[in-house]
């Protein structure tokens, strides 16, 4: 835990710069309605994100000057929402904090973000589907950068939720960017609504936490304060309804932890809320790179790391996280094996890698999760951008069955893609090797149900990672070309503005791993670095639970060897199957036709959700609630029924009193008057 905060007024400009750019675009688009040249648009957008990145670097420089235990920059702007008195006072500050955890995220988000912004320039310029969308695209991208930076810089849960929802909004807008296609618009809505289910849990967790803190006399939602007073509520127990498993009495930290984790599941595409991510590939490829690979989907991991002090004392919740992550990682890897859409393979890969990160946080290795988060951002952004170059070269053909042999046509794209694939599958000196190794080490030492099996599952998944990545690589770049002839001769690498980000990300994908050079290696006599894992050491003050007894170095070396072997096996298998015996994959899939169909259909999860949840809900709403209760019971029977009843009464009885004979009326009047007088004189 970090104490004391140093004022750093520039902090607010990290998210504000892209926000202003987005607002400017918005005003130009909606109010002014003058098309500005692409140059101006790009200058505004990329400029804004670059400003964010530069300020982030400045903040980082400032941060590392501070001593380890007080590395915290703060910037308070104003009280956003405040109401209530005494121990119930609810107050949300619009304030930012920049600690090592935020620093990592901010640098990744603004750095990778800036690169992808530059890449998008070329990508969207070449894109001919939507001529007027250029500025709109950059407006959304800037808005996304703002929301994501707000998420990582927020100094309290509510403000974080603002960013959380904001990135969801931008994801919605960008997935449905080419809105004329019904499927794209549908995918956008689906992403937002599935995310909202997670957000519901997030809100509940937030409220629960606030409620307990208010109960303990410290109503607060700020991360620093929550951590400060957390000890007072760490042992609270809650009684939940009896039908929940393992009840009725739960430790509150587990409940809060699980609620927040369900929120994270939505955003980070974990089981059971992952269904939106593959569909989200309907967006432009830079969007997939930025939002659905590098930044937004990692927000869930960030949230769990941010609340690491809570999860460190919530072992049950952590175990659930670990297993959810492991299952998602495996499921994603398996599904990635059979996809034929280049972007969908990468999407399932993202899901799988996010599973790895959750395994890490579930095992208490928060620094490892953050490390993989950062390296994955580089690697996956690289892969997606390279895939985007392929898609452009293929004129928006995304099916890998129609590719093959592209390595000669688009060599730059090929090399960068290869670097990305190597890095992500864990080849030795690349970034992914170090980060995945750390997670596997954590999985080995984890105390979760299933024991060693858990580790073997993760190791197998790591092997699968190499398999599906190189399947993709060989299918696209190697072998015989299956590209249509008229397309084949016109293929070319993308222009410079798109290649430069690819190169930059390649460099990061190669070397970023060194930031997390394992201590076990640093202790080797011929290396001899006293504190080699500078990444983990940098994060140590803000992350809890990293004090666990490290494994013996010998075990670690053995684990590393296994990881390398798994990667090599996967790669070799891919090489064997897709280059040496290209007919075999078809044979295999046809001999396991049932299984293959299940996999291609993604276990019919979407359909099952549709049948179990969506359709019954719509049917109940329509038939029972709307037609049944609203139209028939309330309106038909009660409201109009009363009206009909009154009318029937009048029509069949009362109207005959109205005879039209004056003298009859007068007689009745007389009788009435006499009756009243008689009553009064009684």
């Amino acid at each position: 835990m970090v104490t004391g905060g140093t004022e750093f007024d520039l902090l607010r400009w990290i998210p504000l710069a892209p926000l202003l750019a987005a607002a400017l675009h918005g005003v130009l688009l909606v109010v002014v309605r003058r098309t500005v040249s692409q140059w101006v648009t790009v200058a505004i957008s990329c400029g804004a994100v670059t400003v964010s990145f530069v300020i982030s670097c400045a903040a980082f420089a400032r941060l590392v000057q501070l001593p380890d235990e007080s590395r915290l920059l703060v910037d308070h702007i104003y009280t956003w929402i405040g109401a209530g008195v005494g121990s119930q006072a609810f107050s949300t500050e619009l304030a930012f904090q920049f600690d090592p955890l935020s620093a990592v995220m901010t640098l990744v988000v603004s750095g990778v973000g800036a690169l992808i912004h530059f890449y998008s320039w070329g990508y969207m310029e070449v894109d001919e589907r939507e001529d007027k969308g250029f500025q709109r695209f950059f407006c959304y991208m800037n808005l996304f950068s703002f929301a994501m930076l707000l998420l990582v810089l927020a100094d309290n849960l509510v403000l974080m939720f603002v960013g959380w929802e904001g990135v969801g909004l931008c994801s919605y807008l960008l997935i449905g960017f080419w809105y004329s296609d019904r499927d794209n618009a549908y995918a956008g809505s689906k992403a937002f609504i599935v995310n909202r289910i997670g957000d519901l849990a997030f809100i509940v967790g937030l409220l629960l936490l606030f409620w307990m803190l208010a109960d303990a006399g410290h109503p607060t939602v700020g991360f620093q304060d929550i951590e400060r007073y957390f000890a007072q509520i760490a042992d609270v127990t809650l009684d939940l309804p009896g039908w929940l498993p393992g009840g009725p009495s739960y430790r509150a930290v587990n409940v809060v932890g699980l609620c927040l984790f369900i929120g994270a599941c939505g955003k980070s595409a974990q089981i059971p809320l992952y269904v939106w991510l593959p569909d989200a590939m309907a967006g432009p490829t830079p969007v997939s790179a930025l939002i659905h690979a590098a930044t937004m989907v990692t927000a869930g991991v960030y949230l769990v790391c941010r609340m690491s002090f809570l999860y460190a004392v919530a072992p049950e919740a952590s175990e659930v996280i670990a297993w959810t992550g492991a299952l998602t990682a495996t499921l994603g890897a398996v599904l990635a094996l059979v996809q034929t859409d280049i972007k969908k393979v990468l999407a399932y890969s993202t899901m799988s890698q996010l599973g790895f990160m959750f395994v890490a946080v579930g095992c208490g290795a928060y620094a490892a999760a953050m490390f993989h988060l950062a390296t994955h951002a580089f690697m996956k952004a690289l892969l997606f951008l390279a895939a985007g170059s392929v898609i452009l070269a293929m004129q928006h053909e995304q099916n890998i069955d129609a590719m093959g042999g592209l390595r000669r046509r688009i060599p730059r794209t090929r090399w960068t893609f290869l670097i990305g694939a190597l890095a992500l599958s864990g080849a030795l000196p690349f970034a992914g090797f170090f980060s995945k190794d750390e997670i596997l080490v954590a999985a080995y030492g984890a105390e979760v149900a299933g024991g060693r099996w858990f580790y073997w599952l993760m190791l197998a998944t790591a092997g699968l990672t190499a398999l599906y990545l190189f399947r993709l690589y060989f299918q696209v770049f190697s072998g015989k070309s299956r590209v249509k002839r008229e397309l084949r001769d016109r293929m070319e690498d993308p222009p410079g503005s798109m290649v430069v980000p690819l190169y930059a990300l390649s460099v990061l994908a190669i070397f970023a791993g060194l930031a997390g050079f394992p201590q076990a290696w640093g202790d080797l006599s011929w290396v001899d670095i006293e504190e080699s894992n500078s990444f983990a050491n940098f994060l140590a003050p803000v992350l809890a639970g990293t004090v666990r007894e490290p494994l013996a170095h010998e075990i670690e070396y053995r684990l590393t060897l296994r990881a390398v072997l798994a990667a090599i096996t996967g790669t070799g298998l891919a090489w064997w199957l897709y280059l040496q015996r290209p007919t075999w994959p078809g044979k295999i899939s046809s001999s396991f036709r049932r299984l293959h169909r299940v996999l291609v259909a993604k276990f019919w999860i979407d359909e099952i959700y549709g049948v179990l949840l969506v359709r019954p809900l719509v049917a109940i709403s329509d038939r029972l609630l709307y037609r049944g209760i609203d139209a028939w019971l309330i309106d038909g029977l009660l409201v109009n029924g009363v009206a009909r009843g009154v009318r029937a009464l009048a029509a069949n009885g009362l109207r005959y009193v109205q005879s039209g004979l004056i003298q009859a009326y007068m007689f009745l009047m007389l009788v009435g008057a006499v009756a009243i007088v008689a009553l009064l004189m009684r």
Binding site: R655, Y656, S659, G660, L661, M666, L670
Partner: protein
């Protein structure tokens, strides 16, 4: 001096005649006259009661008599309106039988 009872009795009898006239006659003119009869019966009662409580010389009570004047005025207006309606009815139906004017029913 005539006792109050007699006057009230006369008034009641007159009112009764009026009521019966209105209820049983089939001629709207006679019915209107019967209504006048009822009004005048009430007027008689007003005056009689005013005589019973005349107040003092310094501050005489004249409420009953004032009311009579008011009733006479209203009765005049009412007869004017009533005869107007009657005339219109007669022009349309060639009759002053109230049963001819029973369209306003159901």
């Amino acid at each position: 001096m005539i006792p109050l009872d007699h006057v009230i009795g006369l008034s009641a009898v007159l009112f009764g005649f009026g009521v019966i006239g209105v209820l049983v006659r089939r001629n709207l003119i006679v019915m209107l006259m019967s209504v006048e009869l009822m009004l005048n019966a009430a007027n008689l009662a007003f005056v009689a009661f005013n005589r019973l409580w005349p107040g003092t010389d310094a501050s005489p009570i004249l409420d009953g008599q004032v009311f009579v004047l008011l009733v006479i005025t209203i009765a005049a207006a009412e007869v004017a309106v009533g005869l107007g309606i009657l005339l219109a009815l007669f022009r349309n139906r060639d009759s002053v039988d109230p049963e001819e004017a029973s369209l306003l029913k159901w």
